[in-house]
Symmetry: C2
Subunit: 386 residues, 2 copies
């Protein structure tokens, strides 16, 4: 049964699928995963030409459940506002593939999976990952699905990094890359926030040097802190002001009052932290924040983003949000400028929004139009080519 | 002996003094400190008219040691660049008083002091404090020093809040207030960062609900995290980029390398966190961050800053720094606009700086000129009045 809120243009009920990838996956760090499992969802139908597939790349804490409802769910997937029939990423026109990436913790092989060599959970011994490893794993899923070229690879934040990496590593397998609220590399400030989050996790005595599963413990306090730090950086100062201001949840700031006082924003953040620590794995958080830190689009291209994008052959749509200070518009302009200098086809939309980095998840008419129109043109071209 | 670096315009060796204030201090929360100790330093000489005294108000983690050297020190006090002979806060012209405030942890009465009623350290039971309590305690020190009016009360950040509070609570005891990188109240984002810092401290099992002293423990991990969070917000994104960029301290990001990797910025932040947790008290950190959160200049003035400043009779200098995102120039403009609307004498300088909130501590020619010229005019007026 779908909840009533799902009535309009919902994909409806969806079931996760899984693929056992038995081809060895060589990781950038030198390690090899002899086999791995990928959990994914698909929305819409693959056409006869098998050329209308869109790959959705999730960010740090994302999963495969991007749209529609699982049986019993009150809330749809994380990008449901943008994926569905007649939505910007239109499931009437495209075959949409959304995969939980390796190293994460929602069913695909990651730190909570059993390492076949030891018979125990990988935990902190799961190999270091790079965005290119996610791309390579997604390519093996692509083989599994018998798709030879993505119509579009699309992602926000770390998802945008995967889309860019796809365009460089497999230029013949991507027609369009949509890069939202992303960057060619993190700034020192970005890395600093990630490191504080990691240290919060590692400081939790229940982390047990990453072997908490073996000790039947969960570093929930550290993970909650990590999420709280991240969460503040995903929101804009302005949005937090509008949403919470200086409203109190408990107590009163009048004089002669020594009772507890709590601001709404404190309560909200503590709740978000606790909720997240119930759902996410601490080793995955460390692994994936490092993947973010290590990403540097042009490192292997002589640190020249123009030379790097010279290898791409797809078209690009780059989108940023005005109040996003974690992945500022300036970063998206750098991507766009490098693409222009590399003589690539690129559209850039800087969307006015007061919602910070989280804007990529939220309703916004101009964002919907920019994304929807771009994808509609692609769908029209595909139909013309039939 | 002074270190060689101290040669030019240094105050030289200074010794902390202390005052036992035996007059009861009524706190805003309703509690009363029957007596309290204040540790302070003075630089320069009080003139015969006793009207050339400047009060320095410290911020969250500050102390009384603002300038000069203690015996054996390698580094001078925290505001030594700005306080000394012929420096912007000129010890040849003014009698400068710098006090460690109550609730802090550098000798003045605070959570690490013994509660005379229990014979044990106050710890987490130290009464809740407001900026006005610091002002009241400073007023008692003023009595102790037989000063009836400050020529200038000056402070940055939380220090600026004290200067503003002085101007409203005791308009007849302040001639000039200098408010640097401050705000009339914190934003939701400010409160959020403070709350994450507090939660980091409280999450540390060694915090023992604030009774760590009784258990011979120190919540060093939590306090280090708290400082790391604060520290990132005191620096600008730009400065961190210049200072650290993506430089590695350990390891290499080449492929086929599964060895540890550490960015310079991670190492720097971890070092800053650890250093701070050796020097500061966790209960003081919680107490003073709450004081920051609770500060709201015009709460008792019908939430009208113009009405609030209507009570002031001193002149104001307001200073902000362009890259300060913790106490953004916008906050200082609000202060200035309210002062103008309240028909007060106010000068406002928005200083170009890439150094973030920390700019108030660092060399900057325009900042030095703005502050120095303002204070020189005051000194000249004082001489004219002799």
């Amino acid at each position: 049964m779908l909840p009533e809120s799902a009535a309009k243009n919902s994909i409806g009920l969806v079931k996760p699928q899984s693929a056992d990838i038995t081809r060895p996956l060589k990781l950038a760090c030198g390690a090899v995963l002899p086999s791995h499992k990928l959990v994914f969802e698909t929305y819409g139908e693959l056409n006869a030409e098998r050329n209308n597939a869109i790959l959705i790349c999730h960010a740090l804490s994302g999963d495969h459940h991007a749209a529609g409802f699982h049986e019993g769910d009150d809330k749809p997937g994380w990008w449901d506002h943008y994926i569905g029939p007649e939505k910007p990423i239109d499931s009437n026109k495209f075959f949409i593939v959304s995969v939980n990436n390796i190293g994460s913790c929602f069913g695909s092989t990651g730190p909570t999976s059993i390492n076949p060599e030891t018979g125990e959970a990988w935990g902190a011994t799961f190999p270091s990952l790079r965005a290119r490893d996610w791309v390579e794993s997604q390519r093996l899923l692509m083989e599994h699905l018998q798709i030879t070229c993505w119509a579009v690879v699309i992602g926000a934040s770390l998802g945008g990094m995967q889309a860019m990496r796809w365009s460089l590593e497999h230029p013949d397998m991507v027609r369009h890359a949509v890069v939202i609220a992303s960057a060619m590399k993190l700034t020192a400030q970005n890395i600093a926030f990630n490191e504080i989050a990691r240290r919060a996790i590692k400081s939790d005595p229940d982390f047990c040097d990453g072997n908490y599963l073996q000790h039947n413990k969960v570093p929930a306090r550290g993970l909650a802190l990590a999420r709280m730090i991240g969460h503040v950086t995903y929101l804009s100062d302005e949005l937090m002001g509008q949403k919470f201001g200086r409203q109190l949840r408990i107590g009163d700031l009048i004089e002669k009052n020594n009772n507890p006082i709590e601001f709404q924003v404190e309560s909200y953040l503590n709740y978000q932290g606790d909720k997240f620590s119930d759902a996410f794995d601490a080793n995955s958080y460390i692994l994936i924040t490092k993947m973010l830190d290590y990403f540097d689009l042009s490192r292997e291209y002589n640190n020249d983003p123009i030379a790097a994008f010279g290898h791409a052959s797809c078209d690009f749509l780059v989108i940023s949000f005005s109040s996003d200070w974690r992945f500022a518009p300036e970063r998206s302009r750098e991507i766009t400028d490098a693409l222009i200098a590399a003589n690539k086809s690129v559209s850039y939309a800087e969307i006015e929004s007061d919602k910070g980095h989280d804007a990529f998840l939220l309703p916004n008419a101009r964002y919907e139009a920019a994304l929807g129109n771009y994808l509609t043109r692609i769908a029209t071209q595909l139909q013309g080519a039939e």
